[in-house]
Structures are given as structure tokens and as C-alpha cells.
Amino acid sequence: MTTRITESMVRRGVLADLQAIDARLRLTQRRLSTGKQLTRPSDNPFAANRALQLRSELESIRQFSRTVNEASGWTTATEAALSRITDIVQRARELLVQGGNDANGQVAREAIAAEIDALTESLKQEANATYGGRYILAGTATETAPYAVGGADAFAGNGATVARTIGDGVSLAINVIGSDLLGSGQAAADNRLLHVMRDIAEHLRGGTPADFEALRGTDLARLDANLDELTRTRAVVGATANRLEIAATRLAELEESSLRLLSEVEDADMAATMVEFTSQRASYEAALKAGANIVQLSLLDFLR
């Protein structure tokens, strides 16, 4: 038996086809207007999960970038402070060489000693360098000035490391401890800068042959040792800055590639979607036309 085709079948078939095309058109339209091919997890559960993961990665990369920027600011400030400290120590060394020269009288040496005292205070001033309101040479006691300018020479900070996480599980120490360079003055007898500077001023004022001997001998040697230590520390800070710069570049690259991946997963291919949209619209129109014609036809039109 051939299948009887009834009006209700035709009508339902035309309607169902129109609705199916309509649904596809709506989806395409949604993709075009949002620019996303993934608007709900059920559009493609696997891709949606991948998108979640990529978004989380992207967020973490951006956060690492912010951390690296912040750490770079910190090391730049440290670098600047160390550079100024080096300048001061070099000036002190010039004065020391000058003061150790026998040609100077005691008056001149007193003047030099006064300048050394001023330089010592400057050293403490520079060691109190801040970044974003935080003392950068004070260890983790970042809200306490490490040295009291015009006061005692004791180091008020601590020796703890300030570390920043610049990648998954990658922690980088970014701080320099002020007492490793300046020490805690004569009381601590640690041969650090403050101790040596105070000794120099004392020896300049003392004026005895033994003082001259010390100025020319041990003081100069100790100051030079501290200069070496400063240079070494600056090299370490420079290396840290370098590492941060490399990390920043790498994170920028990572961000770009993650964004590209996310876009591949989430974003609609506009050209392809537009072509799809146009062809769907054409087939919608064709279906409407065909449907309208078929639904209208009847034997009644031809019987007279």
C-alpha cells in the first residue's frame, strides 16, 4: 500500500521543518551577536571545560604578571638605594684617602670627620629607602625604619626573606637585608659600613700616629671589603631584576598564547558563521515558500 499523505502530515511536516531551521537560525544569530560559539556548557561540554581551564590559567598568568611588575618595582627601588649607598661609600673612601694623608692638619681632618659623620647619616637615610610606603631593606619588618637617622646605629629590621611567587611554585627572594651591608654600628663590631665609618671618623679625630696607621691600613681595607660586598649585592639584585624581566616577557607570551587558545575554543569564526547564517536564511526562505505553496494546494481548486 502506498502511504496516504494527509493534510495534517503535510502541515506538521512543514511546521516541524520550519521550526528546526528556525532553531538553527537562532543559534547562529546568538553566535553572531555574542561573537561566541560557546554560550552554554551544553553547546560543547568538553570545550566548555577547556574554556574554564584556560580562563583560570589566563587569570593566574595575569596575576603572576602583576606580581612580577610589583617585584620589579621593588628591585628597581633597591637597586637605586644601593647605587646611592655605593656613591656615598665611594665619596667616603675619597675622604678617607685624603684624611690619611699627613699633609692635612688636624683642623682639616676634623672637617673631614664631620663630613664622614654626615655621610654616615646619609647612609642610614638611604638604607631607609621605601617602595610603596614599605621599607625595602628591613626584611619583613617593612613598617619599621631599619635605621634611626640621627640616633643609634642598631638595625631595627629583621633578616627574613621577602619572597614573591612569580610562577607556579616559583618563589623568588627580592629583598636585600640592610644589616648585611650597613651592620649595626660600633657596638656590634661587625666590620660593616656603619662600624667602619664610625671608626674612620674616630680615627680622623684621634690624630695619633696609630690612628693614621689605622686610617691608611685597616680602615681602608675594611671600607674596600664593604665596597666589594656592595658591588656583589648589586650584582645579585641586578640578576634578580634580570630574572623578573625574563619572567615578564615569558608571561606576556604565555598570556598571548592562552588568549589565542581561549579564543579558538570560545569565539565564533565570524566569517564561517556569517556564511552559515546566510545559507540558513536562504533555506529558511525556500522552506517558507515551498511550505506556503504546498499547504495551499487542494483538489478543490481544480474541481468545478
Binding site: P41, T67, L300
Partner: protein, 442 residues
């Protein structure tokens, strides 16, 4: 027995009457072409009982049957019961899948993933806020931002949980509305019982109530979208309808047994139960969300309290997702076990939780809901196609085809006209016999 002179008139009359009935039926079909559940009918015509002429009717001495016209044998409803069974099975499947798809879509929309408004994004921002605190632990502004972001995350989790609970409640309410007194099931069952009664009295009087059968079958179609239906013919025209896994038949002849308890009724009711009941689909999503919220709160709290600080998040055990809240103010946020303002090891450790167990748990929940919705949508589309196919086959058998009915109109009209012509031909013959015979030469 001889043949009456007027038997031809009677034969023609029968032709006229039968064609008139056939036209009536055709007209009924056309009138009902858009009636839902209507099956086309036809007048089954058959030759009338012949007039028996005894031996000697024919030249060779044999008797004969002289045809005496046409009768309507029956008004037949054209319907395939097997297709009804197939249709109801598919309608039940479609009803269930459609209800499930609508329910799950509500949950999926509540997720708002992937996007800026989802929990995944909030979680990422929360970890970033911890990282910012680790970068400047002395700064109270970053801690304030952290507390605010944490609050937003907790609210997002509680909102999602509440929306899922609402979706489950809606499903339960819909289920209740359908099975409750005055609900769809009760209405259908009552009408079937009443139809059973009318049909039984008709059948007892040997009348086939075609249109009542149609209505009853249509009601059974409706009922099958709600749950599993099986029909037993009781022989006197009435039927017994078993519904879902109810202990007693929903309709037994003219008695209705409702309400009854249903555990796995199938169809729309089954899907609504599956969505809403404790241990159901939505409840299992909520349990996953709960586990995610718990692991998030516990992981953060464990690290936060390791610095002798207070718990970062508070929650009520057993309803973590809905009660999650930030327990600390900006000043109480602990970044380190030491009192040094620049120390950040705890904040760093918490920031390093990013991408860990809580993130994975949430992503897997999103993946699960996404694939559940995708699957139920595909199944729904499949069931829709199957229902449409069975419906087409049913329409091919029972549906009214206008072209067919119009051509039948022409056919029966011609039959009627020809019967009338036969009658007037016989009438003319009789006229000759009665009025002209024996009047030769007058």
C-alpha cells in the same frame, strides 16, 4: 416466488439512501479534518440481501438470487491499534525527556558559565586577591579588596545553590500539580471513566460509538506523555488503564482509583521525580556544589588558621554552599604566622591553591551539567523525530485527506445521481405500463 414489479424502485431507493449516508460520512470527515485525535470514518457499503427466486426462474429450471440494491453495513473507524501502542511508548519517552531538558536547562542557565558572571571567574579573582595581599601584605586596601571578593564568591556559590534548589522545587511543584486533586491525571481519568460508561451502553445496544472511541484514545495519548500507560480491553467496550507503577489500575471500567503513590511512573512525572526527589539529579548537583564549597572553605581555613588567625570562611556543616560567608574583617586577614608586616607566607600559600582541588571540583561539576544537558537535548530531539514518525504513520492510516474526501464527494454524488436516474428510468417504464398499456387506438 415471483419478483415484484416495483422491486427496481426499492433498489434505486436503497442506492439513493446508501449514497446519501456515504456523503454524510464524507461530510463528517471534512468537518473533523482539524479535530485532534479524530480518525477518519467510512460507510462500508455492501449488497443487500438478494431476493430469492425459486426453481424455474431461469430457462434451465434453476432458481436465482436477484440483487436488491445496497445497504450500509457499518460505519467504520479507520485506526491501527498497534500504531497507538507505538505512539504512546514514544510519547512517554518524549514527555520525560522534554521535562528533564527544561529542568536541567534552568540549572545550566543558573551556572552562567563560561563567562564573567560564573563562579569560575569569581574563584579566579578570589585567588588573585590573595596574591595581591601576598604582594603587599602591609596594605589594608588589598585586604579589603580580598574580603570583598571573598564575599562575592560566597554569595555566588549560595545563589547558585539556591537557584538549583528552586529548580528542584519547581519540578516538585509541577509534579504535585499534575498528580494532585483536580490535576491533569485526575481529569483524564475521570473523563475516561465517564466515556467508558457511555461506550458500554452504546456497545450493549450494538452501536459503535466511533467518536467516543477517538476521544478516549486521545485522552490515553495525553496520559501517556505523563507516564507509562497500559490498556486492557475489558470486552464490553470499556477499558482498564494501568498508570505508571501505581498499585491499582487508574481506571477500571467506570471506577477511578486516584490518587495513588508513584515511585517510577516514567514519562513527564518520572522525569520530574528524577529531578526533584532527594538523591535525584539536581540534588546530586547540589551535593557536588556542597563538596566544592566545603573543600574551598576548608583549604583556605586550614592555611589561614595555621597563622593563629580566625577561620576565614564560616559555614554550617551540612549546608556549606548555602551558608558560606566570610568570617573576617580586612584587619583580621592573616598573611603570616609572624607578626612582621611584610611577611606573606600564608597569603602566598593560599594564593597557590589556585588550580587545586576546589577549582577542579567546580570545573567537573560544570562539565557534568553541560554533558547531561547536551545528552538529554540530543535524546529529546531523537524522541521528537520518533514521535513525529509514528504520528505520520498514524495519520497515513487515520488522518483525513481532503483530496480523498473531495474525490469521495464527487464519487458519491455521482452514485446518488445515477441512482436517481435509475429510479426515474424505472418510473418511466412503469408509466408506460400503467398509463399507456391497453390503450391502443384510444
Amino acid at each position: 416466488m415471483g419478483v415484484s414489479t416495483f422491486s427496481g424502485l426499492q433498489t434505486a431507493l436503497k442506492g439513493l439512501l446508501a449514497h446519501q449516508r456515504a456523503l454524510d460520512v464524507t461530510s463528517h470527515n471534512i468537518a473533523n479534518q482539524n479535530t485532534v485525535g479524530y480518525s477518519r470514518q467510512e460507510a462500508v457499503l455492501g449488497a443487500s440481501r438478494a431476493t430469492r427466486i425459486d426453481a424455474g426462474a431461469l430457462q434451465n429450471g434453476a432458481g436465482a438470487h436477484l440483487g436488491s440494491g445496497v445497504d450500509v453495513l457499518a460505519y467504520r473507524r479507520i485506526r491501527d491499534r498497534f500504531l497507538d501502542l507505538q505512539y504512546r511508548a514514544q510519547a512517554m519517552r518524549l514527555g520525560g525527556l522534554a521535562a528533564k531538558a527544561r529542568g536541567l536547562e534552568g540549572v545550566e542557565v543558573a551556572l552562567a558559565e563560561p563567562g564573567e558572571n560564573g563562579i569560575a571567574h569569581r574563584l579566579g579573582v578570589f585567588w588573585s586577591a590573595w596574591s595581591d595581599v601576598a604582594n603587599s601584605p602591609e596594605n589594608s586596601a588589598t585586604r579589603q579588596v580580598l574580603v570583598e571578593q571573598a564575599g562575592a564568591l560566597a554569595i555566588a556559590i549560595a545563589t547558585l545553590d539556591a537557584q538549583m534548589a528552586t529548580a528542584a522545587q519547581h519540578a516538585a511543584a509541577e509534579h504535585e500539580a499534575i498528580v494532585g486533586p483536580g490535576g491533569e491525571v485526575a481529569l483524564i481519568a475521570d473523563e475516561i471513566a465517564r466515556l467508558n460508561e457511555t461506550i458500554r451502553s452504546s456497545v450493549a445496544a450494538r452501536i459503535e460509538p466511533n467518536d467516543l472511541y477517538d476521544r478516549r484514545d486521545y485522552l490515553l495519548d495525553q496520559l501517556s506523555a505523563l507516564g507509562q500507560v497500559s490498556v486492557t480491553d475489558l470486552g464490553d467496550g470499556t477499558i482498564e488503564v494501568a498508570f505508571g507503577d501505581a498499585a491499582l489500575p487508574l481506571v477500571e471500567g467506570t471506577t477511578v482509583n486516584w490518587p495513588q503513590a508513584l515511585a517510577e511512573p516514567g514519562g513527564k512525572l518520572g522525569a520530574l521525580l528524577e529531578l526533584s526527589q532527594p538523591g535525584g539529579l539536581i540534588a546530586s548537583y547540589r551535593a557536588e556544589l556542597e563538596a566544592f564549597a566545603q573543600s574551598l572553605a576548608d583549604a583556605v581555613n586550614a592555611l589561614h588558621t595555621s597563622g593563629c588567625g580566625p577561620a576565614f570562611f564560616t559555614y554550617t556543616a551540612g549546608s556549606v554552599a548555602s551558608t558560606l560567608a566570610v568570617a573576617v574583617t580586612a584587619d583580621e586577614v592573616v598573611t603570616s604566622a609572624t607578626p612582621d608586616p611584610g611577611a606573606n607566607e600564608i597569603a602566598t600559600a593560599i594564593a597557590a591553591l589556585r588550580g587545586g582541588a576546589p577549582d577542579t571540583a567546580y570545573a567537573s561539576l560544570v562539565g557534568r551539567i553541560g554533558s547531561d544537558v547536551g545528552q538529554v537535548r540530543r535524546e529529546e530531539a531523537n524522541a521528537e523525530a520518533l514521535v513525529a514518525a509514528v504520528q505520520d504513520r498514524r495519520d497515513a492510516t487515520s488522518g483525513v485527506s481532503l483530496d480523498e474526501e473531495v474525490s469521495n464527494l464527487v464519487r458519491f454524488q455521482r452514485g446518488y445521481q445515477a441512482s436517481a436516474r435509475a429510479m426515474s428510468t424505472i418510473d418511466e417504464a412503469l408509466d408506460v405500463l400503467i398509463n399507456r398499456t391497453g390503450r391502443v387506438g384510444l
